[in-house]
Amino acid sequence: MLDATKVYGWLLKLYPAGFREEYETPMKRHFRDDYREAQGRWGKALLWLRAFADLAASAPAQLLHELKIDLKHGVRVYRSRRLSAVLAVAALGLAIGASTGVFSVLNALLLRDLPFSEPAQLTELWLAPFTPLMGRAAFAAWSRQSPYLQGTTAFSSSDMNLMGEREAVRVKVTETAANFFQLLGVKTAVGRPFATNEDITGQNAFAVVSYGLWQEFFAGDPRIIGATLRLNGMPLTVVGVASAGFDYPAKTTVWIPTVFDIEKIPKRGAFLFQTIGRLKPGVSMPGAQEMFQAEVRRAKPLSLTSASTDERNRPRFISLRDQLAGPVRPASWVLAGLTLLVLLTACANVAQLLLSRTNERRQELEVRAALGASRARLLQQLTTEATILTAAGALLGLLVAQWTSKLTSSIAPPQLATQDYTILDWRVLAFAGALAMAMALAFGVLPAWLLGRLQPSGQMLRSQPGSRDLRTKHVRATLVALQSALTLTLLTSSLAMGRTFLELLRADLGFHTAGVVTLNVSLQGTKYRGPSEWQYYSEALGRLRSVPGVQAAGAISHLPLANNLYMGGSFKLDSLQTVPATVMNAVTPGYFHAMETRFLAGRDFAESSAREPAPPVVVNEAFAKSAGLGRAIVGRAVTVPWSNTPYRIVGLVATTSLSGPANQGGPQIYWPIQEEPPPALTLVARVSGSPEDYLARCRDAVRALDKEVPVYDVKTLDQRLADALAQPRFYTTATLFLAALAVLLAAVGIYGTAAYSIAQRRSEMGIRMALGATYERLRSMMVRESLLPILVGSALGVAGSLAAGRYLGHLIEGAAQTESWTFVAAAGLFLVVGLLAAWSATSRVLSIDPADAIRAE
């Protein structure tokens, strides 16, 4: 039988250590006596009930009481050691803040609820053999017979012109199947989603608008239901307003049920269809993935499935959550890993600070132990003290996290409006709290463990170097080595990132971004058709050129750095040679001049639009190289895959990068725009002076031509480059910041350890000096001793960097190959910092007076 008194004894553990120490024995005895006297089962039950009630009332009161005493004591202790306390709180605050900030991003990306009902069931079917192109009936039939999906929907997003009251604007439109909202499980704020048959061709002139658009353009007027919108000139009836915050996919402002009806909205260009499915209940994700792949193999036995090595060009069946987190997911994890390293170095620091403090306080603690304080009581005291530090650190950390997450959201735009990065989320706050608590416990327990059993003994007032000192010394050296290793890993990573980023900045884009203004115009849904389109464009160019200060101007259908979908194909040179995967672009004469793209051979298009028997094209260097030709390519004939008309190559230009410095740019071919004017294009103007001053002037000049043509994305080319580089810039800055933080913490740690070690060995130094050792020799001895753990740690750090380097490629392309000079530079830099810290700490040796030091003994 379980002994009742023993059970009661366990319950007493709920009291704080001090109280327990004093009263545990008599309390147990009372209970034992009362239990013995209790009559029968009811009496015993009543006794237990009373005991529980007593415990529930008095244990919290005693805990609070002792906590108050410990807190008071702790604050007193820190007040007398202000510097180390401030350093520890700062280190903890920065580390907890950085970790929490990064966690808030991970939380938003990977953990938080998506604005869909049962999002875990939703999957993305990438490059599936069943697309909206099969037609509505076939798509629905396939969807119905699917053994693993209970439903599917399809959509395609593009930009369109929305005619407003005074002028036209450009909006993001998603063409969907009628069941889009039902499948995602999303409700409308006003009105209704699309009805089942509203995606049938001829019956699909409807629209659902975003909450934001409703507020901005209709001032939240509920009469929007039934109103008419004109998208690319097509009238559509508004049936609903999406709920606030819903803008899936990709910041959509208008949804229209026309995904099966490509002709409904006049548009030209490249389209990307996306298909989303909802798993049948009981079907697992891996099981569904297998069935999907089998289906793909049946439908397209030889095509894309195995041919492509590029992950993006292979059919894929993944959860919608993973798809949304997509490319930033690995980067976020790497960033989280780097932040964890900083957190660990900060921990090493705080551990050292607390350790030296505990050692200094050994006398105090030993006296208290001698006066009867138990180990548990002292442990409680030390843990409370550590909690003061980590709680202060956590508060500071939340401020830092607020800033970090703001920074992050400004640089990595969320894919869903509801996906804003906030620290005011219970998961994030719980994370920060748990982190602080775990650290407090660790830092409370560690010093107590190192102190060993505090036994009151005759020698307690003498600080004799003994086994305990040796133990703390080893722990301190280990902490320094560990910190050095982590810091060096971070430092190497940040240097590798910095180098790669600098390379990106220096990369030759094939054009010069400085001093260029860019503006987009779109003629979709306007009065301009065919030849009049070219007329508009050439007039717009004329107006742009007449703006004072504009030196050169041109236009292109797909501007580099603009996040375009490009169209491409393979071309035949002289009807013989094939040049594969060539991106097609249409430009006006003067475009290359305005962008300062070099002509390597040949000439630009002529201004005259006279039709020639063999229309002229310009190709780039990569195209020529791909054909195995140099400048000799000028004058050759080229044919497109879909017609036999020969085009004549009149010029050869430098290769331009399309998506940014990380991308080298492949074969490209340029048409004169007047051949077949595109529905939208980008005007570029090279100006003298600061391009920012020209943005409004250029926009107004073009807009004045026709208010019904939206002029949008008016930006300098430098701004577009900065946007393209935003992500690598953020990751590089973050890594450099983390590394600098780690180096700072390491310097503080090394300094503290060296200074402490000298204070401990004062008398030894005194004796050495009395025996003839010079200051210089003693100092260099101490520096050598401090450097040993740093060197060991650095060796580990180099190994760590090699391991970490592999993952850096997720943050910034090209950073994965860490060059050997990076290691040398990082290790050298770190050793210099370590040496400086140790050297300045050992200046204390100079203050030792041998006579005093020996006398103190």
């Binding site: 004093e22 007593d54 009332a57 008095s58």
Partner: protein, 121 residues
């Protein structure tokens, strides 16, 4: 020992009921914890049955405030031969329990006059 100041005493008033009873019973002589509990139980005719946590919580508080102090440990011949810790009232404790009694007396007098209760014979 310096004489406790009046402000120190006033600061401690009013006393909680268990502490008042404990101090009262300690004016009769030294007691250990269990004996205090028993005495209060008897005095209040079983109405105030202190749990161990409440009992020692109050004792701890009185010790910290200097109302009582520990005397030596010794066995209680009435109960068993186990050694127990005895407590005795300090001069501050004595003054405090007296002040509390006066406070209560004044309170009762005021209440009586307010309610016009007949005098107890």
């Amino acid at each position: 020992m310096p004489k406790p100041k009046q402000t120190d005493i006033d600061r401690l008033l009013p006393l909680s009921l268990p502490i008042f009873h404990m101090l009262l019973s300690l004016t009769e002589g030294e007691r250990h914890g269990y004996a205090l509990k028993r005495a209060i139980l008897q005095r209040t005719e079983g109405k105030l049955n202190l749990g161990s946590g409440a009992l020692y919580g109050s004792i701890n508080k009185m010790l910290e405030e200097g109302l009582i102090e520990e005397s030596e440990e010794r066995p209680d011949s009435h109960l068993d031969d186990e050694r127990r810790r005895y407590y005795r009232i300090t001069s501050l404790g004595q003054r405090v329990v007296e002040a509390e009694t006066l406070r209560l007396r004044n309170l009762v007098r005021f209440a009586e006059s307010q309610l016009a209760l007949p005098e107890i014979a």
